[in-house]
């Protein structure tokens, strides 16, 4: 059998959050090139699963957590720059705090204008709206230039049209993606595979073509 290389793998794993078991007997494999959407009501364990998956390939993953975790005093530019702190020598990082590095500035300005925050490049993060903050968080993930994108509700603070546009951008810029979403239509449009979580288990795992928006709405009890 000639199975493609596996990026993420869980074989009957149980996962706990703050000491309480939230996911049982998880079997999941993600291969390069897949765009996986995690669906499930809040509290279903999407964040716990994502956190655990990220640790399997921490250096490959561009990470976009639910709380952007920006540094309020630093500018948009610096917050995006922080995505690559680990690959640049520390003395260059320090110099960049005092005076922005011209190369990084060009690259980050391009990312920021793609995300629609080009005008705010040197505005402190604490002066941004919630939507702008999640764009900065996306920008940091983009600037990491890593093959896998992992996001926990990365576009939930944006309006429908912008969410659609920016999620498309993230999918286009990364080879593989695992994204927790609560918008079924977005998942259908941008992902190739749907994983549905319910009652602490994976209840559904199939290609987008084999399911329908109607069927997926069952994961969100009214």
């Amino acid at each position: 059998m000639n199975s493609p290389a596996v990026l993420f793998q869980m074989e009957g794993t149980s996962l706990a959050y703050q000491g309480r078991e939230v996911l049982r007997d998880i079997r999941l494999r993600v291969s390069p090139g897949e765009k996986v959407a995690l669906l499930g009501a809040s509290g279903a364990g999407k964040s716990t699963l994502l956190r655990q998956l990220r640790l399997q390939q921490a250096t490959q993953v561009a990470w976009c957590p639910q709380q952007p975790g920006l540094v309020p005093m630093l500018s948009v530019y610096h917050n995006i720059y922080m995505g690559r702190l680990d690959v640049i020598p520390w003395w260059k990082n320090l110099a960049n705090l005092v005076y922005p590095n011209p190369v990084a500035r060009t690259a980050i300005a391009a990312i920021a204008s793609q995300l629609g925050i080009g005008d705010q490049l040197f505005t402190s993060a604490d002066r941004l709206s919630g939507g702008q903050q999640s764009r900065v968080s996306l920008g940091r993930a983009l600037y990491q230039r890593r093959p896998v994108f992992m996001g926990d509700e990365p576009v939930s603070a944006l309006d429908e049209r912008q969410a659609d546009q920016l999620l498309g951008l993230m999918m286009q810029q990364h080879e593989t993606a695992v994204v927790a979403l609560h918008d079924v239509a977005l998942a259908m449009r941008h992902c190739t595979r749907i994983v549905g979580l319910e009652h602490g288990r994976i209840q559904l795992d199939c290609p987008v073509s084999e399911t329908s928006e109607q069927a997926l709405l069952a994961f969100y009890p009214q």
């Binding site: 957590p65 975790g69 705010q120 040197f122």
Partner: protein, 513 residues
């Protein structure tokens, strides 16, 4: 302040809206001012072999000599007795002043009495009452009363007013105060008061250096004779008393301690009434004005007064003032550097539990050493210059602010993929702690200025040097004017730091500083 923007190249094209801009400029201003001060700051090492002395000191610290337990216990008992009585009297005085803290006059008065360092008060009272217990107790009580008045007063102002407003109309001020304000402010007042007792023990220890029988007296003797092992034993005893305070300072034992302190060291005094009268009516009057007998003497006396004042200004006041400001500014900048280097030691964002515990022990040690003692040791090591004073102030105050900043950093939650090491310090943590760091440091600036003036007693030419000389030459008129100048400088710095804190939107709440 109209300083240029930090990124000049951005002036065209980008709107720069940086929340930290004001703070960064203020910081930069302080650093630039400190650098400009450097050419006037005497920071030379004048001893022949500082390393030899340092190694002897280090050896002493490693081999403490507890050979004279009787002397040690006597010194500790005296230190605690002065501290307990002084702080208790300060609490009473401060509480009474705080009752009237809404009146500007009382606020000014409180600011004035705390602007004069306890060592200066001690010099004054020793003149009046000799080396009597009451002199030491009052020297602690008076400036502490000024501080307590401020902290208690601000705590009363911050109490939720709804309980007060719900009282029946016609309730008197005192009834309302004891039923609504005091119960709500009591807890933070107790916490602050117990912290001040720690400061009181340090102050009491330092009073020994000018002759009162506390631990500082024995420390000075041992250090001057080069008996570093004996000095180390005394120092360890002092640190032990301060570090174990949280166990021995029990609420129900306070009254017992206080009675014991009064029995051990009754605040007796033998006042020479004639001397006291002479002090107030003659000694402290500027010498050219003493001869005034009637109206006809006034004009000639004033004609002599101005040259006298002018001479005093040129020879002592101006020099003392500039040296005090230069030293305080340099000490402030060094304190900030120490703070930023040391707070990671106790922060959970860096290192594990053991490293944090070690950091806590280290910082407690560093802040338990009174700055006067550190400066005294520094003088032995490096000779008389500003260097020992700067190092002493930076180590002591840096340890205190690092402790506060480290505790603040416990509330910071980082992302799972946050950077580590030096990148974490500068990108994730420093920007987040910068606002409280500035608030704490500016809060501390007034205290650094007070201490700088006081360290002059050691021979560094700040205001304290001239005050001490005036006292020892029995020129009390000069001493009084210099003391007033010192107080004015402190009140000015206090006001400046407060307005800076407000302008930068830093918290102005009373901190345990």
């Amino acid at each position: 302040m109209n300083l240029p923007p930090l990124y000049p190249f951005l002036r065209s094209g980008f709107r720069v809206q940086r929340s930290a801009q004001g703070m960064l400029r203020t910081c930069l201003l302080f650093v630039v001012l400190a650098l400009l001060c450097l050419p006037w700051a005497d920071i030379s090492v004048t001893t022949r072999d500082p390393w030899l002395e340092l190694s002897r000191l280090g050896w002493g610290l490693l081999t403490p000599d507890f050979g004279r337990p009787g002397e040690l216990i006597l010194a500790l008992a005296n230190t605690l007795a002065f501290a307990l009585q002084g702080v208790a009297l300060g609490v009473v005085g401060g509480f009474l002043l705080a009752l009237g803290y809404r009146f500007a006059l009382i606020r000014r008065f409180s600011a004035f009495i705390r602007a004069i360092h306890e060592l200066f008060w001690a010099l004054l009272f020793i003149q009046l009452m000799g080396l009597s217990p009451l002199a030491g107790v009052l020297a602690i009580a008076i400036p502490y009363a000024g501080t307590f008045a401020k902290i208690y007063g601000e705590l009363f102002e911050e109490v939720d007013p709804s309980a007060w407003q719900a009282l029946p109309s016609g309730t008197g001020y005192l009834s309302g105060f004891f039923y609504t304000l005091l119960p709500q402010a009591l807890r933070p007042m107790m916490i602050y008061t117990s912290y001040r007792l720690e400061c009181g023990i340090r102050s009491s220890a330092v009073l020994g250096f000018i002759g009162l029988p506390t631990i500082g007296f024995f420390l000075e003797t041992a250090l001057k004779q080069g008996l570093y092992s004996e000095a180390a034993a005394l120092f360890y005893a002092l640190v032990l008393v301060i570090v174990t305070m949280r166990w021995w300072l029990q609420r129900r034992l306070v009254l017992f301690y206080l009675i014991a302190a009064l029995v051990w060291l009754p605040p007796k005094v033998s006042l020479d009434t004639a001397l006291v009268v002479r002090f107030f009516t003659e000694d402290i009057v500027p010498s050219p004005l003493r001869s005034i007998q009637g109206w006809s003497d006034v004009l000639p006396a004033l004609e002599r007064f101005w040259p006298w004042l002018n001479q005093l200004w040129q020879q002592q006041m101006w020099a003392g003032l500039t040296h005090t400001m230069i030293l305080a500014l340099l000490a402030l900048v060094c304190t900030s550097v120490i703070t930023l280097l040391w707070f990671p030691l106790i922060s959970p964002l860096f290192g594990g539990r053991w490293r944090q515990a070690g950091g806590h022990v280290f910082l407690v040690w560093m802040r338990s050493a009174p700055e006067y003692l550190l400066a005294f040791v520094g003088l032995l090591l490096w000779g008389p210059s500003m260097l020992p004073a700067i190092v002493a102030l930076a180590l002591h105050n840096g340890a205190i602010i690092a402790h506060l900043v480290g505790r603040y950093s416990e509330g910071i939650r980082l992302r799972e993929d946050a950077a580590t090491g030096i990148n974490r310090h500068f990108y994730e943590v420093l920007p987040r702690i910068f606002r409280p760091f500035m608030a704490f440091t500016l809060y501390r600036f007034e205290i650094i200025m007070r201490e700088t003036a006081m360290l002059g007693i050691l021979g560094i030419p700040t205001l304290g040097f001239y005050i001490d000389s005036a006292f020892s030459e029995f020129r009390f008129d000069r001493a009084l004017l210099l003391l007033l100048l010192t107080a004015m400088l402190n009140m000015l710095v206090d006001g400046m730091a407060r307005s800076l804190r407000q302008r930068l939107h830093l918290s102005s709440q009373p901190e345990s500083l």
